[in-house]
Symmetry: C2
Subunit: 428 residues, 2 copies
Amino acid sequence: MPQYANNPDRKTWLTVPENSDFPIQNIPFGVFLTKEDVITIGTRIGDFAIDMGALQQLGYFDDLGLPDDMFLQDSLNDFIAYGKKTWRQVRNRLSDLFEINNPTLRDNEEQRKIVIFHVHDVEMLLPVQIGDYTDFYSSKEHATNVGKMFRDPENALLPNWLHIPVGYHGRSSTIIPSGVPVHRPLGQTLPADATTPVFGPSKLVDFELEMAFITTDANVMGEPVPIHEAEDYIFGMVLFNDWSARDIQKWEYVPLGPFLAKNFASSISPWIVIMDALEPFRVASPAQNPQPLPYLQQEGNHAFDIHLEVALQPENSTETVISRSNFKYMYWTMAQQLAHHTINGCRVNSGDMMGSGTISGPTEDSFGSMLELTWGGKNPLRLSDGSERKFIQDNDTVILRGYCQNERVRIGFGECSSKLLPAVSFNV
Amino acid sequence: MPQYANNPDRKTWLTVPENSDFPIQNIPFGVFLTKEDVITIGTRIGDFAIDMGALQQLGYFDDLGLPDDMFLQDSLNDFIAYGKKTWRQVRNRLSDLFEINNPTLRDNEEQRKIVIFHVHDVEMLLPVQIGDYTDFYSSKEHATNVGKMFRDPENALLPNWLHIPVGYHGRSSTIIPSGVPVHRPLGQTLPADATTPVFGPSKLVDFELEMAFITTDANVMGEPVPIHEAEDYIFGMVLFNDWSARDIQKWEYVPLGPFLAKNFASSISPWIVIMDALEPFRVASPAQNPQPLPYLQQEGNHAFDIHLEVALQPENSTETVISRSNFKYMYWTMAQQLAHHTINGCRVNSGDMMGSGTISGPTEDSFGSMLELTWGGKNPLRLSDGSERKFIQDNDTVILRGYCQNERVRIGFGECSSKLLPAVSFNV
């Protein structure tokens, strides 16, 4: 099927601001609530949210063989389960409908009123009902930084790291869309030089700059997904802030891994950019040495050149960009992650989410967490308002942004923004 | 509300075999498929599976204010979300309906044909759609055994263990009901004295004797569940076999915990025994020293005296009971686990599942895994057919059983049985 929705020469009859993340070449998918209390699946062009449930009721997808209520749902899971061919057909259809020379909807003011909203007039919801969520640990720079700080600076990477896309299971129930605030978590921590823990709000709340991909049904239980098929099961990507409480983490994580230090909240950007839209930004991933085992070997370009940045905005102040990184730095590719995840027969379903792990680049200003940016709090960051940060303070907002850019087109993810609220009061 | 469904003097007009796990005092809940391809919620008395969807259509729950299709569903999640009062009303109603002197259904042969099936004529399905699954590590004997084997025999317990009900997230998508076989997983392992891993079937597949509890909606995100409320959010319990691949685990689990070594499969018993039915078997849990932090402190009896056993049955042979343990050995209670899980605001939903961790008792014949029973393979078990086992072999069936027993009544869980099939063939 021709990927004409990617044609950089296409223009739309909708007004799209310069440098928008959402030109007609993007066509991401999300779920939103309208002012009329309707929940629908939709897409976004420029600053307009487009109601795909309404479009379907108006007959615009009639020939695609989809259920009548495909887009009048509160999650994308069923649509995602239809697979890549359907995602592509629907994206092409939307591209056609909003193409500058197509009068069908453009010249039908009554329909436009029903279908098109300004993004400020809708509330973005979680786009998928997440079944299982896995977080990887696939940035070599991040794993090295953490190893240097907490283990042996001379042997920062653990022996398995170069052989395995290390990952662990996370909590689905606390993944929230951009805009929803997060409370500073309560928990147990071990004070320096103490032997018994204390209870209270975490003092070391951190963000983690990640991206996550969303899968379709990939296999039946017991059957591995071969690496050369793995990309077929990836629907799209979002920005992902894996909120972390470093002091809780330090006390709890040996031997079974992070638990309450991570599962109080993870924030995602609400528009899923599908892999077709990212295709022009495919690049080589870092060379892998030693060569991984055959089930993880792949040829060709499987990384994506996605510019990432993190901004920190104190209450009633302006933001400071505190990190600039890139998704292409990831040592392990998404295809390798998915092939590894299923090599033991683990079943992957429509709507599962897999995080990259913190994405740190090679330079100090490209690190993906406060832990690394301030080197464990030793080197505080100075913000544009003159204040300093070792970790995230109450009422700070953390904003992740990401976009791909070439000479012809920019495809972006919008924002993943979340404010850290003070801890709740809790009396035993 | 009087808990008369627990009355040990109650008898039923159904035939119940002596020593059945499912007397009229049990009334567990499950989901099954009939020969007519109907999926329904049901209960079990003796060897009869009772179709609660059909009972509802016949009007037997009409006055309880439930949705018309409450029991004609493929999972218990919505029913569980109604909360403890509803669970109790429905259990009492079923107890009344099958009480020996109640003629309503007893003397209506036509209705009995529609409602009552022999358990051999139905297929048990997964009783809940599991949202998030957490596994704890709450047996002190198990944690000590593992610590002795893999870390320091003199300091077997890690410093956090006596302060925290240690837990980690697992994979929901591969939890399967009793009866479904499991393939030996493929994966990476590091041979002894090697520095690079090899690929192939795990050589050290193990079971883990656990129990798991299923929750109802417990909180909104951000709010801890106080420990004195925690038991209100526990619907019931099942037997849980957390299949594990020890060689994959050893290579992958540092620093983020077990992943592919565990997520290829976990098996559960299909009938959820609700906490009301277990109430007569409440006992004290082991003394906790040091005293836990206040948010984990509780008074009264919060353990349950549940006899557990594990049998191993080679292909075409008789079974051997290889472990006898008890759920009451658990150091941390379910209420403590749930209070800890939510202390950071983590949201717990209807249908979430939380495993106890391997339940080992104080004696060598009460250990809950082959790893411990054979002490890492050093002391093979001899089975009744004369063969030996260090770990689980292809085509072995592992059967967990559990029951409570006093002078008046026995409340049991039936079986959690699963056969280990050979690894699948996989060519990269």
